[in-house]
Structures are given as C-alpha cells and as structure tokens.
C-alpha cells in the first residue's frame, strides 16, 4: 500500500490548493455581480422546459440510428491497427462490411428517418 501514499498526498494537496486559493482571493477581490457576469459561460445552452417534457418521437428514431452506426465504427479501429498485415483482403472485407452498413443507411434515408420535418 506504500505506493498509494503519494497519491493520497497529491489528492490532499489538490483540495487544499483550491480552497486556499479561492478563500484568499475572496478576501481581496471586489464583489460586483451583474447579469452578463452571472450568465452561463461555455457550459452549453440555457436549459428550458423540465426534463420530463415530451420530445418528438422522430428524435428517438434519429438517435437510435446514430447509436447503431456510431458503435459499428468500433470495428474500424482494430482493423486500422493491423491494416498493413492483412493487406488487400482485409481492405475488401472492410468494404463489404461498410457496404452492408450503407444499405442500412439507404434504408433509413428512404424511410425518411433522416429528415427532421
């Protein structure tokens, strides 16, 4: 367990650094809040509505299609790593795999899943 002592020390230092730094600063800085200052900065959109509100059903279908295609991309990574070894055969096989995915995409397209309105 000895080797974990440094980690603990690091953790404590980090916590102390934040609190001491902010605490000392608050003693000296002026406090003049205004609306622009209090607005959310680089934290995404201002939320509206409550979380239990209804979404368009189309959104779910869109998201489901995205999830499937997104995850299929996981196969591209190991393929790319060993691409030199497997050569042309591997390339053709991946083309077939992607071809099957493209058929799925065409299907979704023709079924108007990709159109918002």
């Amino acid at each position: 367990m000895g080797s974990y002592f440094e980690v603990l020390l690091f953790l404590l230092t980090g916590v102390i650094f934040v609190f001491v730094g902010l605490g000392v600063a608050s003693l000296f800085r002026p406090a003049l809040p205004s609306t622009p200052k209090q607005s959310i900065y680089e934290c995404g959109m201002r939320p509206f509505g409550d979380t239990l509100g209804k979404f368009r059903v189309r959104y779910y279908v869109f998201a489901l299609v995205f999830v499937v295609f997104d995850v299929e991309a996981v196969f591209l990574y190991p393929w790319a790593v060993v691409f030199r070894e497997i050569g042309l055969v591997g390339f053709v096989e991946m083309l077939i795999f992607l071809g099957v995915l493209v058929i799925g995409l065409v299907y979704a397209w023709k079924k108007r899943v990709l159109q918002w309105s």
């Binding site: 099957v100 058929i103 065409v106 299907y107 023709k110 079924k111």
Partner: protein, 503 residues
C-alpha cells in the same frame, strides 16, 4: 471449397439485403414480390446446402475454416438444411397473411431471412463468438418480427416480453461464455476427443491444457440457464405463451420451430463434448458429471408442467405454445441420457418436431386467413365446414401425440430406447405418462372439430375455406414430411448418429 461451405449463408444474406432495398422501390400490389424473392433465395440456399451433403458425409468439410470460425461437418449441413426448409415453409405460410394484415412485406421477408442466417451460423461453428453472433442475429430479428403487427396491442406486448426475457437470457449466456472462455483458455470449443485429451492433461504434472475446469463447470451451468430461457424450459418458460399468443401467427410458427431448433443445435454443439466425455477425477470432474442430472431434472419439470398447463388452455396458439414447451422437455431426455445415441435421438426428434409443429400451425394460419378465430371453441364443427383442414390438423396432432406411423412416434421411440439403454428407464416411463396426458388437449380440439355440431349453422361458418396455392403447398410439404420422416426412420437415424458422432 471453403466458399462453397458458406454459400447458403451468403445467398441468404444477399437475398435479405436485396429484399430490403427492393422493397423501398415497390409500392402497392408489387409488395408480394418481396415474399417471392425471399422464397427464391431460400430455395437457392437450400439447393446449395443439399449439394454440400455428400462432401460433408465424406468428412471433407470437417476441417476448421477461417481459424475455426466455420465448420462444415455433417451436423452443420444437416441443421442448415433443416433451418432453410423451415424458413421456406414459414415464408410460404406468411405471404398471404402478411398481405391480409397489412404487415410490411419487405421487412418481414428480410427479417425471416436474417433470422435463418443466424440459425445457420449457430449450427455451423465451433467458436463461441460465432455462436453468440448467430444467436443474437436470430434473436434481434425475432424481437422485431413479434411486434410487426403495428396496430395490434397484443403484438407489441408479445414483442416487449420476448425482447426483455431474450435480452436477459443473452446476458446470462454471455456471462456463461465468458467463464467458459476463462476455463478453456480459448473461444474455440473442443470436440469430444480433443476435450478428453485436454482434461486428461490437466493433472498436476502435465501442462494444464484446460486452465480451470471449475470455471468451465460454473460457466456451463450458466449456459444451461441461458439456453433454458431461449428454448423455454420450465423454470424459464413464462415468457413463451405470451409471446406466442401475441405474435403474428406465422411468426409464432417460426418461433416454435426455428430459433428453438437452432438453440438446441447450439446446445448440442456446446454440451455434447462434456456429456459424452470420459469421466474425470476430482472436484471439477464431479461438477462436470452433474450436467446430465441437471438436464434430467429440467426434462421432467418441462414436460410435466408443459403438458399439464396445456390442458387448461382455451386459445389454440397458447395451447401449442405449452405443447412446444412439453416437446422441448422430451428433447431434453436425449441430453439427460448423455450417450451418443441420446444425442442422435435429439437430432432426429428436432427434424420430426419441425415438420409436425409447422403442419399444425399451417392449418391454424390457413383457417385464420379465412376469419376463423384462434380460440379452441372456434374450431367447433370444423369437419363439416373445412374437412380437409380438419383432417390435416388431425394428422399433425397424431404425430405430435406420437402415434405410429408418423415421425412423432419414431422420434419418441428413439428417445425412449436411448433412455432405456442408458439405464434411465424411469425417465422413459415419465415420458410415456406425459404422452398420455398430452392426448387430453390434442383430443379436445379433435372432439370440437368432429363430434360437436356447429352451434348455429352460419353463425361462425364463413362458408368453404379454399387454401391458396402457397399455404396449400406448405401444408402438403409438412404433412408429407411427417410421414416420410417416419418411413425413412432407419437412414435418418443413421445420419443423425453420424452427424452427432463428430461433435
């Protein structure tokens, strides 16, 4: 040679994708074209699979191909032929139904094809990864098929129940597979002889060829539970009646035969080496030796509960669901006896069961297409209204009960003999008792059809019920198969024995 081996799979995949694309450009009356294309693809794949038969028999395809991901032994080819035939018959039964109930024809056809593809992968590999992928291909397609009647609330309910239990079962199977992988040290499954060598070498002196037999044993027990869900064995069967009742009837016919037989094929692949192996000493050996007993307990529970609950069903799809649970129980007897003959009996029974159960469902679909309901009471007086349908249903039921000279009789007889030879006569006797119970619910339908006069003439009778060419052909094929499988018992049993010999 290698590519010939997977030609059936390639044809089915290509047809499935083609149908999906084709359907996007078809409208209105052209919709039936999707079904016909699917039928053509399945027929072509069936021819390709049948052509593999001789080479597989000579053992030329047994070798591992593609790093052992694909094998082409007799077992694989035999089951591929069965699955393609099942797909063909189901699609023939479905085309009219799909059109009448306004189901999406292209999606239906493509999903049946993909499910058949998954089933073929399950039977045709010795590798856990491919077996899992086949299982999921079949399962995911099946979930959607169950819910394809989009305006029917029952269909949605069937789909959600089937999906939740199916996904849970998949997770349990996967956990079992992960432990088996840890225990064996590879995803490739050994055959019986390789396993015996590996376990013999697991002693203290030799290098352990099987890193951990204990993990293996625990993993196998989890696999029993997971596959138990998939084939609806008794403590894990609760989803089946609901899913079968709510799903569109051709899909129910498919579920009761296709994915079920495929799961049994996977069970044979995975468990056969451990069932027929030479006994191993030590704790691990004892744990592995428990497997047949587990199957025996499940067999007794499954056939007894299935048959007893079937007695009180009023809906014919639900009754057939419980009947199919009971038949899974009979099939388990072959696994419980744990001899090569028992495994061969399982294989033969699966062939017989597919033919006779599809025959029964063919009649239900035929009548349903003409407005007859799915309640047992709707079949009152059927012999006057539709004598041919009634007679066909009687033939299918005779086989399901197990009366000679039908395939059902020979299947039960084979299982019975295997149990007696393995000194498990008590199991054989329980099977006979259960068969006697099963007569009750099959006879109830026959009595309604023949002995009860139609309550009010014209009330439910919608006139004569002509069969369309497709449904008629499918029904004839299954009934001929029921009789032919019985008459060809000798050669088929030998084939089943050879197929299971390589497991």
């Amino acid at each position: 040679m290698e590519w010939n081996l997977v030609l059936p799979e390639l044809i089915v995949t290509g047809t499935g994708l083609g149908v999906l694309l084709l359907d996007l450009f078809l409208t209105g009356g052209g919709r039936r074209a999707a079904g016909y294309t699917g039928l053509a693809g399945l027929a072509a794949a069936l021819v390709a699979a049948l052509r593999l038969m001789p080479a597989a028999g000579r053992g030329e395809l047994a070798g591992p191909f593609w790093q052992g991901m694909v094998v082409g032994d007799q077992f694989a080819v035999l089951f591929k032929v069965l699955f393609l035939a099942v797909g063909l018959v189901v699609l023939m039964l479905a085309v009219d139904f799909v059109e009448r109930r306004r189901m999406p024809a292209g999606e239906f056809t493509a999903l049946i094809l993909f499910a058949v593809l998954g089933m073929m992968l399950m039977a045709g590999s010795r590798d856990l990864i491919v077996i899992y992928l086949g299982l999921e291909t079949t399962a995911v397609a099946s979930y959607v098929l169950a819910g394809l009647l989009r305006d029917d609330v029952r269909s949605g309910e069937a789909a959600i129940k089937y999906f939740l239990t199916g996904a849970l079962a998949s997770a349990v199977i996967l956990f079992g597979m992960s432990l088996v992988f840890g225990g064996l040290g590879s995803t490739g499954l050994p055959n019986a002889s390789a396993l015996a060598e590996a376990l013999a070498g697991a002693g203290p002196s030799a290098a352990p060829a099987v890193p951990s037999p204990l993990l293996l044993a625990v993993g196998l027990v989890l696999l029993v539970a997971g596959f138990g869900f998939k084939v609806a064995l008794v403590p894990f069967h609760f989803w089946a009646p609901d899913a079968y009742e709510g799903a569109p009837t051709p899909v129910t016919a498919f579920f009761s035969v296709g994915p079920k037989a495929a799961a049994f094929a996977a069970i044979l692949r995975v468990f056969a080496p451990f069932l027929v192996m030479v006994p191993v000493s030590g704790v691990e050996g004892k744990a592995l030796a428990l497997l047949p007993s587990i199957f025996a307990v499940l067999a007794v529970l499954t056939m007894t509960v299935g048959n007893l609950v079937a007695l009180v069903q009023r809906n014919i799809k639900r009754m057939l669901a419980y009947s199919s649970i009971a038949h899974a129980g009979y099939i388990l007897v072959g696994l419980a006896v744990a001899t090569p003959r028992g495994l061969a009996a399982v294989t033969y029974y699966l062939l017989a069961y597919a033919a006779m159960n599809l025959g029964a469902f063919a009649v239900v679909i035929w009548l349903n297409n003409h407005g007859t309901g799915d309640e047992v009471d709707d079949y009152v007086g059927l012999s006057q209204r539709a004598p041919l349908a009634a007679a066909a249903l009687v033939v299918a039921f005779i086989s399901l009960i197990g009366i000679p000279p039908t395939a059902g009789f020979f299947g039960k007889f084979y299982l019975f003999m295997a149990a007696v030879e393995a000194n498990m006569a008590w199991l054989a006797v329980l099977m006979v008792v259960n068969t006697a119970i099963s007569v009750g619910y099959y006879y109830a339908v026959v009595r309604n059809m023949y002995l009860q006069p139609a309550a009010e003439p014209g009330a439910r009778a919608a006139g004569p019920v002509p069969a369309t060419p497709l449904v008629g052909t499918a029904l004839s094929v299954t009934l001929v198969a029921v009789l032919a499988l019985g008459l060809l018992f000798e050669p088929l049993a030998r084939l089943a024995g050879l197929a299971c010999g390589g497991l």
